[in-house]
Structures are given as structure tokens and as C-alpha cells.
């Protein structure tokens, strides 16, 4: 098991290195280089030269690449071109907002999806099942930003009970904080819940049909124990997979939902930096978001080892 964990962590580090390298060479492969695209076609050669020197772009590529990697490891991430703020400061400011939205979104999503899936599977072809299936189907068909706009119209404009612009930090009180992120979190959480519900339902239905479930009935195991101990444990494995893969949807959704609710999170920072061609911010933000994602995948993979003994003892994973 330890070998597996070490191997997975090694793989995650390798992936991060690959991302950093891709971003580094990718941004330098733009015709005219990043400086040209930052300053625009009309920039004077002097301005281009001075900015190139400032960013270290006049160095040979291997030297730049080495500097880039050492700076990354030292967390010396440079300054924003537009505001001259430290990139680290911008990200430290933005990241908690994204985490709050995504985290609360996932929690809400799972809190809805698991019971909905179980109800769907245990009350098959009853009205509750149809309702859950229909809701899940609608959920996977709506982009998070559209859910966000609908929520904003309903709760912000018509009912006027929740703020629809901006973010209140937790230091201003838990209730205002929760009020400011509950709508964005729901917007990213519902499409996520839809995917998980579908998987939970179909996986549990499959498990309930297994031979050992019939054996449990024959042995006289009570229905609750059967469902929660025998069936759920096995049915959850594919659900964890989907719940992990679909974290991508949450993160992707957060990027767009931040725009809907004008929250200066990582998504908004990333998009603005791309539009402003603020490339020091762009490259680090892409790296940070990738880092978050790679670590989430890592955690999900390690969660398997707790759930699925075949991985724990098998060593090799599929």
C-alpha cells in the first residue's frame, strides 16, 4: 500500500512538472513572444526590449527555464504587469474564495446526490425515483453559470434575500460569509450533484442485483444492514470515481460562476489576466489551478485504497 501511495505522489509531481513545462514553452511559443502580445503590435522596440529584460526574456531559453523552475519552487512568482502587485498576493487573496465556493459546492452536491441516488435505486420506478432521475437529467444539461444566473434572478432579484455581487470574507462573520457564497456554491454544486446522483443510482441498482445480496436476504440480514453495510460499501466505489472525475466540473463551474457573482476568485483572476495579456499572472494561476486539481485527484485515488481492498493489497492499480 505504501508503495502505491509513493508511486501516486511521484506521478502527481511529474504531472505538475509537465504542466509547468507546457505552460512555460507554450506561452513563449506565441508568435512574437509574450511581450509582443502583452504590449500589442504598436509597441516601440525600446519598450519591448526593456520589458523583455525586466522579465528575464533576453536570457537564453534554457537559462530562463531553469530560473522559472527555481522561482516556482522558491514561490518567487513575480509581479502583475497591470497592477504591479505581487502575484503571490493576488493569488493568496483569490484562492480562499474559490476554495469556499468549490468546497461548499461539493459538500452541498454530495449531500443532495447520495440520498437522491439511494432513493432512486431503492424506490425504483416510483414517483420519487422519477423525480430524482428527471432532476438529475436537467442538472447535467445546465451549465453552472446558467444555474447561477437563475439562482441570482430568483433569490437576488425576485425574493431579494441574498446578495448576488461580491464576496464577504469569513472574518466579517460566518453568516454574511455563508450568505455571500451560498448561491455560487449551489450553482456549481447542482450540476455536480446531477452526475453523482446518476452514478449512485445505477451503481446501487447493480449492486442490489448481485448474488451476495440474495445470500444476505436468505441469511435473514435485516434490510437496513443489507442496504447500508452490504450494498453501499460496494456501490460507493464507482461513485467515488465519478465524484472525483466530476470535481473537474466543480472547478470549471467555479471559474464561470465567479464571473456571474463578480467574485474575485482564481477563475476571474485567470480570465482577466488572459484578456489583459498579463502573462505572469496567467502562468502562475494556471499552475495553481492545475496543482489544486492534481492534488484533488491524488486524494480521490488515495481514498480508493481505503474503500477498495483490491487496490490496497494488489499493489498495481488499474
Amino acid at each position: 500500500m505504501w508503495r502505491y501511495i509513493v508511486k501516486r505522489i511521484g506521478h502527481a509531481i511529474f504531472v505538475m512538472w509537465l504542466v509547468a513545462t507546457t505552460v512555460f514553452f507554450g506561452l513563449r511559443a506565441i508568435p512574437g513572444g509574450p511581450v509582443r502580445s502583452m504590449l500589442g503590435q504598436e509597441a516601440t522596440p525600446e519598450a519591448v526590449a526593456s520589458l523583455r529584460a525586466e522579465l528575464g526574456l533576453d536570457q537564453p531559453l534554457p537559462v530562463q527555464y531553469g530560473d522559472f523552475l527555481t522561482d516556482l519552487l522558491a514561490l518567487d512568482l513575480g509581479r502583475s504587469i497591470t497592477s504591479n502587485e505581487q502575484v503571490v498576493t493576488i493569488l493568496v487573496d483569490a484562492a480562499p474564495r474559490t476554495f469556499a465556493i468549490a468546497g461548499v459546492g461539493v459538500a452541498l452536491g454530495l449531500a443532495v446526490a447520495i440520498p437522491a441516488g439511494v432513493i432512486g435505486a431503492t424506490r425504483r420506478n416510483e414517483p420519487a425515483d422519477y423525480a430524482a432521475t428527471l432532476a438529475a437529467f436537467l442538472g447535467i444539461s445546465m451549465p453552472a453559470f446558467f444555474v447561477g444566473i437563475l439562482l441570482a434572478i430568483l433569490f437576488g432579484v425576485y425574493l431579494n434575500v441574498l446578495p448576488i455581487v461580491g464576496y464577504t470574507p469569513m472574518s466579517a462573520g460566518v453568516v454574511p460569509w455563508l450568505q455571500s457564497i451560498i448561491l455560487p456554491a449551489t450553482a456549481v454544486g447542482l450540476p455536480y450533484a446531477a452526475g453523482v446522483t446518476r452514478m449512485m443510482r445505477s451503481s446501487l441498482i447493480e449492486t442490489l442485483d448481485e448474488g451476495y445480496m440474495r445470500t444476505a436476504v436468505a441469511k435473514g440480514v435485516g434490510s437496513r444492514v443489507r442496504l447500508y453495510k452490504h450494498a453501499m460499501q460496494n456501490a460507493l466505489i464507482p461513485v467515488v470515481t465519478i465524484a472525483g472525475i466530476q470535481l473537474a466540473i466543480v472547478l470549471g463551474g467555479t471559474v464561470t460562476v465567479e464571473i456571474v457573482f463578480s467574485i474575485q476568485g482564481l477563475g476571474r483572476v485567470l480570465v482577466n489576466s488572459i484578456l489583459e495579456r498579463n502573462y505572469p499572472v496567467t502562468q502562475v494561476t494556471i499552475l495553481l489551478i492545475s496543482g489544486i486539481f492534481v492534488s484533488m485527484n491524488l486524494i480521490v485515488d488515495l481514498a480508493y485504497t481505503a474503500l477498495d481492498p483490491r487496490i490496497r493489497y494488489g499493489g498495481e492499480s488499474a
Binding site: 444566473i149 473537474a248 464571473i259
Partner: protein
């Protein structure tokens, strides 16, 4: 047809995909004959009914036949297909379907069913037009913008999936066919890409390409979807690589390329069709997302994502600007998903295999 569907749902509990309408003997033909089989409760020479499905599932059907069958039997998938056809027709004939020119402007932010009066067609007389879905913040007729938006949306989605399909399938076949280090390199890459949220990857690619436009959007989303196809086809190729017809093809001296694309690909195409059907709605969502972020097509192009983004600023005065294109996205994505689900059942592919 109703007769078929009824039987299908009756037996739905026993077997999700195989229903009695499949069986030739149950179909109108000779009811008395099928009674005869069950007469003596499985005496000598008789067969319990549950074993009968086996021989029927072995029967070969071409992918197209299966698609048609699914649409005929699965009401939901049929409804989805109808919606898709409608959207495609609307997109193709947009200039004839749309009530106005996409650039024509009227009063700003008029509510749905509002009317504008004036000389809009330039014939010198005053007429009244109805804005069934209202107008946006520039005064464009929203219905018109949505109709033209369908063009961009569907075109981008199809081009994206076609791109991802061709590159992904080629990579996957090559990886599965040759194995060894080629397989390791390709699959390392696929794993690497698979670990990323598609929209982040798309945004990153847009950032690297540094420009807006349909081609960039197609490239960004298309590249982001390659891994999904590569994974599936590789799995299929691995499972048929040792089949006898492949050995036979080698024995008669067929080239690798021909074996891969003429012999193996047609036999692995079913899950790819299902995957493609399920990727189109994802591509539509991704395009809308990129447009919404302002990283998609040029800001003047009529697209659903841009319309939603425009409406975002005016949700208290004119919520319909965002809601109408959002509903259009929802409808078309829902339609593709129902068809995709139907096909998945028809090809008998488990949910874990695709998506």
C-alpha cells in the same frame, strides 16, 4: 410502433435493454407457436423463456440499424432526436427562420412579446413587429440572436467532436495496436490530459494561442476532448487485437494501417458513436462557457454564451436576456443526452465505459 414500446416497458424490470419486441417470434408472427414452447413447463425439448434471449442477442445488427431501432423504441431518445433535427434545421436555415437580421436593432431591453413599430424593412411604410423573446441590451431581437447562435453552437460542437474524434481515435488505435513504449508514451499523455478540467485546459489553450475566434475555440475544446476518445478506442483495440480476423488479415499480408483502420476500427465503432453523442452536449456547454467568459468567439458574433453574459449585467431589469439563451442551451443539451443515453443502452455499453 406503440405496440412495441408497450411490450418493452412491461419487461423493463426483468432486463433493461433486451425486451420482447426484439424477439422475432413474439412479434405478431405466430403467437400460437410461442405458446407451444412453454406448454409443458420446460419438459424435454422445451426451453425456459429466459434462455431464449441469448440467441437473439447474438444476431448481428449494423450500428445504423441499432440507432434506428433505438429511436423507434425509446420515446425519450426519439423526442431528443426530433429536437436535435429541429435545431439543426433552424441553424441551417437561420436567415429564413430568424424574424430579423442579427445586427438589426430595436428598443433596448424590451420584454418578451413587446412590439416595435417603425420602418424596419426599408419599404417606406410603418409596420409593427413582435419580439417574442424580447430584445437584448443592444436592442437586438433575442429570438433572432438565438437562432443565429444555434449556428455557431452546433458548428463548433460538431467541428470540435470531429477533431477530437479523429485525433483521439488515431492515438488510441496506434497505442492499442502497437503496445509497448508507443502505448506507454501515448497513454502517459492521455492520462496527463485526463487529469485536467476541460474548461481550464480550453482556457489555457486559448491563453497560449492568444486570440479569439471560432477556429481557436474549436482547437481549444477539441484538444481538450482528445483523451476521452483515445481511452475508449484503446480499450476496444486491446480486446480485439488477438481476434482471428486480425491474425488472418496479417497472414494475407495486410499493412498495419489497413488492419487498424479497415479491420479493427469498424469493429470498435459502437462505443465511439455513443461517446461522440455524449461529447457533443459537453462541447456545446464548453463553447457556451468560453463565450460567457469572453474567451470564445469574437464579441460581436451572436452566440448563446455571449448573450447570457450580456444579460448577466441586467438581471434585475431584463432577466430574459440571460434566461432565453440559457433555456436554448438546456434544451439542445438535454436532447443530445437523451439520445446518447438511448444509444448507450442500445449498444449495451456500461456507464463506466463511456462519459
Amino acid at each position: 410502433m406503440s405496440d412495441h414500446t408497450d411490450r418493452g416497458t412491461d419487461h423493463g424490470d426483468v432486463n433493461d435493454s433486451g425486451d420482447s419486441a426484439d424477439r422475432p417470434r413474439a412479434d405478431g408472427g405466430a403467437p400460437s407457436a410461442s405458446f407451444g414452447v412453454y406448454e409443458g413447463e420446460f419438459g424435454p425439448g422445451e426451453m425456459p423463456p429466459e434462455y431464449e434471449t441469448e440467441e437473439v442477442t447474438e444476431e448481428h445488427r449494423s450500428p445504423l440499424e441499432r440507432v434506428v431501432r433505438t429511436l423507434r423504441r425509446d420515446k425519450l431518445a426519439f423526442a431528443g432526436a426530433v429536437v436535435i433535427v429541429m435545431f439543426v434545421l433552424v441553424a441551417v436555415f437561420a436567415p429564413y427562420v430568424a424574424p430579423h437580421d442579427p445586427e438589426a436593432t430595436f428598443g433596448f431591453m424590451q420584454s418578451p412579446m413587446a412590439e416595435s413599430t417603425g420602418d424596419f424593412d426599408g419599404d417606406g411604410s410603418i409596420e409593427t413587429v413582435t419580439h417574442y423573446l424580447g430584445t437584448d441590451s443592444f436592442g437586438h431581437d433575442i429570438l433572432t440572436r438565438i437562432v443565429y447562435g444555434a449556428r455557431v453552437s452546433l458548428l463548433v460542437a460538431l467541428a470540435t467532436v470531429a477533431l477530437a474524434f479523429s485525433i483521439g481515435t488515431t492515438l488510441g488505435i496506434v497505442a492499442g495496436f502497437y503496445g509497448g513504449w508507443i502505448d506507454s508514451v501515448i497513454m502517459r499523455y492521455v492520462d496527463f490530459q485526463w487529469a485536467f478540467p476541460e474548461i481550464i485546459l480550453g482556457v489555457g489553450i486559448i491563453a497560449i494561442m492568444g486570440g479569439l475566434g471560432v477556429v481557436n475555440v474549436v482547437l481549444a475544446i477539441g484538444i481538450a476532448f482528445i483523451d476521452d476518445f483515445a481511452r475508449i478506442i484503446r480499450g476496444e483495440v486491446l480486446s480485439i487485437r488477438e481476434e482471428e480476423y486480425v491474425t488472418a488479415a496479417r497472414a494475407v499480408g495486410m499493412g498495419d494501417v489497413r488492419i487498424m483502420f479497415k479491420e479493427m476500427l469498424p469493429n470498435a465503432v459502437a462505443p465511439l458513436i455513443v461517446q461522440a453523442t455524449l461529447m457533443i452536449p459537453l462541447a456545446i456547454l464548453a463553447e457556451a462557457g468560453l463565450s460567457f467568459l469572453g474567451l470564445g468567439v469574437k464579441p460581436t458574433t451572436p452566440t448563446w454564451g455571449l448573450l447570457i453574459s450580456d444579460g448577466r449585467q441586467f438581471i434585475s431589469q431584463a432577466p430574459w436576456i440571460s434566461v432565453m439563451p440559457g433555456l436554448a442551451i438546456m434544451l439542445i443539451v438535454l436532447a443530445f443526452n437523451t439520445v446518447g443515453d438511448g444509444l448507450r443502452d442500445a449498444f449495451d455499453i456500461s456507464q463506466s465505459e463511456v462519459e
